[in-house]
């Protein structure tokens, strides 16, 4: 093994030497002080914040729009230049102050004075009201999420109380952190009505076609160029309420291949890699001891689990699912696949989520127990099952091989199938999967917001286990808007217990949020929606 390590170090050296040779003559763009160059692998499918399609648009929206409320980030001890958000800590955004009235049924939002859109138009209560209406009613993700959380359904539920104050009249009291988390999403941002409205048509009253490719934001950057497949350029605004960003220009280079992203970083042609996941653990590890880079990493709320489709035999058998949970070698996967950039998952809730209880799970790697459970289940072995992973999701592909080997020891024959992301999603939502490795992150850091799409029997497409438990449904429905925080947390714990007893998921791990950043760039922050706000970053 020693010899092998030496060789790899040597090769690494020789490749970076080669890189220097190739680019020695060219000035590295990343060195120029006021431009931040990042690599990513997405195109912008839609710039309309209220229509959430994929992360490509969202990552850019995070910098050209302002959120209504912000997640407050706090510096991490011992990691200068790095901050993270903590649960239920907020700060002002478009809204300078907020309060709840009427026994928590009414949200009052005070718009920040003297704020301007990039267009120069003022940001006021009317603009906020228009934007909330648009989020609620235009055809997109928010039309699906807002009624569910806020218990509102029509424009009349949002009222302009005075020129700078907007109130939301909810049907009932709603847990405040959940409301604020929703308002902190960039999906509920303010759009400049003076730009949007003229583009509305009878068929398209919210100008969705226009907003898909045009920007009407108040954020610290403006979108200068968008060349799909090549680059996206943002320029800093001089008149943003937070001041002018240190990085005057942000360039997103489209680099579809992870190996190339690593190389560009190494030769400092880019300052960092953004996007999700951007870099796999194996790539990140290469920068861990590189004095030219900082690796910022912190636990996050991304869940990765072995999805077991209960409409497929024998996965409908709880004993089989429990057996699988005892056979999963998580303790080996975390160091070998995640290389430490993640932690074993102990509950269907991520560890950072309110209500999480890590002491409930009985599962640990125990093949004897697993074999015993298989025997108890009465299922005739060997059982042949497909295990699907997404192509290019390196940790999933690797974990699948580990899982395959252990499951075959307890009587399964596992075929690993690799699917493109699109096919994978299609198969999963149609229920054509047997076993698959799934991933999910709830940007609203709330247990019920998290559990309903994943386990409620009415959640189509996202409940990939096709789990159906009336008792759980009832529990989730009754407590979704429970204002009593303690009662709600107790219900969350009960739900976790039910899910663990039923072994709905094969628990795998929670990913860390990680950024590899050129030394000297500071102001990196992890928020619950994971995307970087470049305005807070600077050199030194």
């Amino acid at each position: 093994m020693g010899g092998k390590t030496d060789r790899r170090v040597f090769l690494k050296l020789s490749t970076s030497a080669a890189a220097l040779g190739a680019f020695g003559a060219l000035p590295a763009q990343a060195q120029t002080g006021s431009t931040l160059t990042v690599a990513w692998d997405s195109d912008i499918d839609s710039l309309d914040p209220h229509v959430f399609k994929s992360v490509g648009g969202y990552a850019v929206e995070c910098n050209i729009y302002d959120s209504v409320i912000g997640w407050k980030v706090q510096p991490v001890d011992g990691k200068p230049g790095f901050s993270i958000a903590h649960p239920s800590e907020f700060e002002g955004g478009v809204v300078e102050a907020w309060s709840f009235e009427n026994d928590g049924k009414t949200v009052v939002l005070k718009v920040r004075p003297n704020m301007k859109f990039a267009s120069g138009h003022p940001v006021d209560g009317a603009a906020l009201k228009y934007s909330l209406d648009r989020a609620l009613l235009s055809p997109g993700y928010m039309r699906f999420v807002m009624p569910r959380i806020l218990q509102i359904s029509k424009a009349e539920d949002i009222v302009l109380r005075d020129p700078m104050t907007v109130v939301i009249n909810m049907k009932g009291a709603t847990p405040q952190p959940m409301v604020l988390n929703l308002l902190a999403l960039m999906n509920v941002t303010v759009m400049d009505p003076e730009l949007v409205k003229p583009n509305a048509t009878e068929k398209d009253p919210w100008a969705a076609d226009w907003a898909k490719r045009n920007v009407a934001g108040s954020g610290p950057y403006t979108l200068t160029t968008n060349t799909p497949g090549v680059e996206v350029v943002l320029d800093a605004r001089k008149d943003h309420w937070t001041g002018t960003a240190a990085f005057q220009k942000v360039v997103f280079k489209f680099v579809p291949n992870e190996a190339d992203r690593v190389l560009l970083l190494k030769r400092k042609a880019i300052d960092m890699v953004v996007g999700r996941p951007g870099l796999s653990p194996r790539s990140i590890k290469q920068f861990e001891n590189d004095k030219n880079f900082n690796v910022f990493t912190a636990p996050d709320t991304v869940c990765n689990w072995l999805a077991m489709n209960q409409t497929k035999k024998p996965l409908d058998n709880v004993k089989v699912r429990q057996a699988i949970n005892y056979a999963i070698p998580v303790a080996a996967i975390v160091p070998n696949v995640l290389l430490g950039y993640g932690a074993q998952m102990k509950s269907p809730l991520p560890a950072l989520m309110p209500g999480f209880d890590g002491g409930l799970s009985p599962y640990k790697y125990d093949l004897d127990k697993a074999k015993a459970l298989m025997k108890e289940s009465g299922v005739a072995t060997p059982v042949t099952l497909d295990l699907a992973v997404r192509i290019g999701w390196q940790p999933h592909e690797e974990a699948a091989v580990w899982i395959q080997r252990e499951l075959e020891k307890i009587g399964f024959k596992i075929n690993i199938t690799r699917q493109t992301d699109a096919t994978f999603r299609q198969l999963a939502s149609k229920g054509d999967m047997q076993l698959s490795i799934e991933t999910w992150q709830s940007w609203v850091n709330d247990p019920f917001f998290h559990l309903v799409p994943l386990f409620h029997s009415t959640s189509k497409g996202t409940n990939t286990a096709f789990y159906s438990n009336p008792a759980l449904d009832k529990l989730l429905d009754e407590n979704y808007h429970e204002p009593d925080a303690n009662k709600r947390l107790a219900a969350a714990k009960q739900a976790q217990k039910m899910l663990l007893d039923d072994a709905v998921w094969g628990l795998l791990w929670n990913d860390n949020w990680t950024r590899v950043v050129r030394k000297g760039v500071t102001g990196i922050a992890k928020r619950w929606d994971t995307f970087d706000h470049f305005a807070a970053m600077k050199n030194g």
Binding site: R8, K12, A259, E398, W402, Q404, T417, R418, Q419
Partner: protein
């Protein structure tokens, strides 16, 4: 009759050591793939964390991948899929192409016109692009890749057979035979077979190479054959990720397997053509 027609071919081939080498290589690969279970040093899915990403060495001749799976064993097993699909696609195209070609040739007129317009339309697509579109439309599976490749190949055989039939119809002895009372179909097969067989054999051999390349390219870009059926193209694509860290064997050897097989089929096809095509006869 077909065998008799081929016996001089065999004599010719025997003299050409390069073709013999190619034939041997194909036979070797086919045999190894067929007997992969017994021949391969390891099971293709056997992982070994201790030997992950090993450079080619005495235990793993072609090295191992990130899971410590033996690359040689995986290449041998992948041969099953690659060679089967290539053979299947070629055979399917040959059978359909020849049958439809006979129909077009015999019925002429409107039937021929319609068939040939379809052929023109199919041939208006670069073959790989069409195979790509068909696979995308039908979905990823071994069968669909086979069908896609076959469809792009059909026109070659169809046109070959059709023109051969037209040529025979023109010939006087065909008229004579008709007068004598031989039914048309019998006539066709008596004259068609010996005339059309050699070019079809050449075409088929070369098409094997083409089919291998197309399939590999399809799975390289993520279409077509999916693991667990490891396939040379997708193995190359996987290996490409490790170039940056210097694990060159992971992309090199699966690609080399493709090159060697295609090269072999092309060499044999070329020799067959040199021998069977009268215009080329005696050139060397």
């Amino acid at each position: 009759m077909a065998v008799a027609a081929l016996s001089p071919v065999w004599r010719r081939l025997r003299r050409n050591w390069l073709s013999i080498g190619a034939l041997a290589l194909i036979a070797l690969m086919a045999l190894a793939a067929a007997l992969a279970h017994w021949v391969a040093p390891y099971e293709p899915d056997d992982t070994d964390a201790a030997a992950a990403l090993a450079v080619p060495n005495i235990h793993h001749w072609l090295g191992t991948d990130i899971y410590g799976r033996d690359l040689l064993s995986r290449i041998i097993h992948a041969g099953q899929v690659d060679l089967t699909v290539a053979l299947g696609a070629t055979a399917l195209a040959l059978v359909i192409g020849c049958s439809v070609g006979v129909v077009a040739g015999l019925y002429r007129g409107i039937v021929d016109l319609v068939i040939m317009r379809c052929v023109d339309s199919v041939m208006a697509f670069p073959a790989f692009i069409l195979a790509m579109a068909i696979t995308a439309a039908l979905g990823n599976s071994v069968t669909n890749v086979l069908i896609a490749i076959a469809i792009t190949q059909i026109p070659n055989y169809l046109r070959l057979i059709r023109s051969e039939i037209f040529r025979i119809r023109e010939m006087e002895y065909a008229d004579a035979a008709r007068v004598v009372g031989n039914p048309a179909w019998r006539l066709m097969f008596i004259h068609l077979l010996p005339n059309a067989l050699p070019p079809i054999i050449v075409q088929g051999t070369l098409a094997m190479g083409y089919a291998l390349l197309t399939m590999a390219a399809l799975s390289f870009i993520g279409l077509g054959i999916q693991p667990p059926q490891s396939e040379w193209g997708s193995m190359t694509a996987e290996g490409a990720q490790y170039i940056v860290t210097g694990e060159w064997w992971l992309f090199l050897f699966p690609g080399l397997a493709i090159v060697l097989m295609v090269l072999s089929f092309n060499l044999i096809g070329d020799s067959l053509r040199d021998f069977l095509d009268p215009r080329m006869r005696g050139v060397r």
